[in-house]
């Protein structure tokens, strides 16, 4: 089935206030910065954002936080070389933080997409991040129960989509994208190119088209890390 190819603006138009939105990327690698900027322009507020980090510099997720659109961030590593925006918002109490070990974060999203409502992991046992969670010893090792992490929307930077929404990713920009594409109700794949059906070898498809609800075509997408190093600011 051919998936709708849209501008980032149209792709994010119906994200409501209060939505939970996954945003792909490990730092700037795989960050769909144009689609995040479209979300800033759109104006939705009180968002819960799921990302590995919490924004860098004055663009993308950092700008979304700076503009006061984010109530809560679920992430593993909010402290980066230039994460002043999040740090100020967090220290002043304007943004809530749910800190999740990175492997647990990606597994919780994978579980959401895979119909696994919860799983046991040894990660975090004996640390403050395990407090308040159900624990159980399995095969002699204490584990914590972690729940699937779902979202209303996912904004994911892929590389190439075919018209059916099959996706490939570029190098390590793959990171959280494939799991996020399975974990959100409405998934928006920002891609560099929309190729004809059949352009991607079936064995090389990373995200099968069933997971892709919308395609946001941005042919000349920026690399967020490069923008940050240039000192870019949005809007």
């Amino acid at each position: 089935m051919k998936k709708p190819v849209m501008t980032p603006t149209d792709a994010v138009a119906d994200i409501p206030d209060g939505a939970t939105v996954m945003i792909s990327g490990f730092g700037g690698s795989g960050a769909p910065v144009e689609t995040v900027h479209a979300l800033i322009d759109q104006g939705a507020r009180h968002l819960t954002i799921v990302n590995n980090n919490a924004g860098t510099g004055q663009i993308g997720l950092a700008a979304l936080i700076r503009e006061g659109r984010v109530d809560k961030v679920i992430c593993s590593y909010p402290r980066t070389s230039d994460s002043r925006v999040f740090t100020e918002a967090y220290m002043s109490g304007r943004v809530e933080l749910e800190l999740v070990p990175q492997g647990t974060l990606s597994e919780r999203m994978r579980a959401a997409g895979a119909g696994i409502p919860a799983f046991f992991t040894p990660t975090s046992v004996g640390t403050p991040l395990a407090e308040g969670k159900q624990q159980q010893e399995i095969n002699g090792r204490m584990c914590v129960l972690e729940n699937a992490l779902h979202a209303d929307f996912a904004l994911v930077k892929a590389d190439v989509a075919d018209e059916y929404g099959n996706l490939t990713y570029r190098l390590t920009a793959r990171n959280f994208g494939p799991s996020m594409m399975t974990a959100a109700k409405v998934t928006i794949a920002q891609v560099r190119e929309v190729a004809p059906v059949g352009a991607i070898d079936p064995a090389h498809v990373v995200t099968p088209g069933v997971y892709t609800k919308r395609i946001a075509l941005v042919e000349d997408a920026a690399q967020e890390e490069v923008l940050v190093r240039q000192g870019a600011r949005y809007p």
């Binding site: 490990f26 730092g27 700037g28 690698s29 795989g30 590995n52 593993s76 590593y77 909010p78 402290r79 980066t80 070389s81 994460s83 999040f86 740090t87 967090y90 220290m91 933080l97 800190l99 999740v100 070990p101 990175q102 492997g103 647990t104 990606s106 597994e107 999203m109 994978r110 992991t121 040894p122 990660t123 975090s124 046992v125 004996g126 640390t127 403050p128 991040l129 990713y169 570029r170 190098l171 390590t172 920009a173 793959r174 990171n175 959280f176 994208g177 494939p178 799991s179 990373v206 690399q223 890390e225 490069v226």
Partner: protein, 225 residues
């Protein structure tokens, strides 16, 4: 001369840690100093470096100006693909990590205790915590080795009797590479294995927050880096 004049550079610490990686090892390099290790594979050895963001098989940074920031390590620094590399998504990367398929995890630290406890994600109230993949790596890697300065910026020991900061992993650290020493963590004790020339045993003990066994201590030497 103070002990401060004898400290290894960050690259020298990474070089030293890389010397202990055996041929054929699969090694995760964590955020911070550990990522520097990828540039220092010993001659004649093949080491498979893994990064949590989803790559197995990479080398040091490319020449300046040739960085591709879609190809990065855990510190978000540009890297190069090693021959025979593979790329996978984050959930598969942590399956590899948590599933105990990696021989060694190299991590940074705020504090390490003689029982192997590691604290490296939170400085407590008043800061922004950041755990990344450290808890998964602590839970999953066969061996956890730490790269850290021997003391904090305020000269407080980072090798301590018991971690005061929130824990990352319990009884996980095997060896610590500092800018002054190589310290094994075994049987509930710190064992000083190597010490930079120019720093005395009394000095290193004074900079360490728990007793250092010193049965067999060699000089800690690294090339200029």
């Amino acid at each position: 001369m103070s002990w401060k004049d004898h400290r290894l550079t960050r690259n020298q610490m990474a070089w030293r840690a890389a010397q202990d990686v055996h041929d054929g090892a699969y090694v995760n390099l964590g955020i911070g100093m550990p990522v520097l290790c990828s540039a220092y594979v010993p001659e004649g050895r093949h080491v498979n470096y893994q990064s949590e963001n989803g790559i197995l098989g990479f080398g040091g940074p490319p020449p300046e100006g040739e960085e591709d920031f879609d190809l990065i390590n855990a510190s978000k620094g540009a890297i190069t693909l090693a021959p025979g590399a593979s790329i996978f998504h984050s959930a598969d990367s942590f399956a590899m990590i948590r599933g105990a398929h990696l021989d060694i995890a190299m991590l940074g630290a705020f504090q390490v205790a003689p029982n192997g406890d590691l604290a490296n994600w939170s400085t407590g109230e008043g800061g922004v915590p950041a755990v990344g993949g450290a808890m998964d790596l602590s839970a999953g890697a066969e061996a956890v080795r730490v790269l850290t300065t021997h003391v904090t910026k305020d000269d407080a020991p980072k090798l301590v009797a018991a971690c005061a900061l929130p824990l990352t992993g319990l009884q996980v650290v095997d060896r610590v590479y500092t800018d002054l020493a190589v310290v094994d963590v075994a049987e509930g004790r710190f064992h000083l294995r190597e010490l930079v020339p120019g720093v005395s045993r009394d000095e290193i003990q004074a900079l360490t927050g728990a007793p250092l066994a010193m049965d067999d201590v060699k000089p800690l030497e690294a090339p200029s880096l």
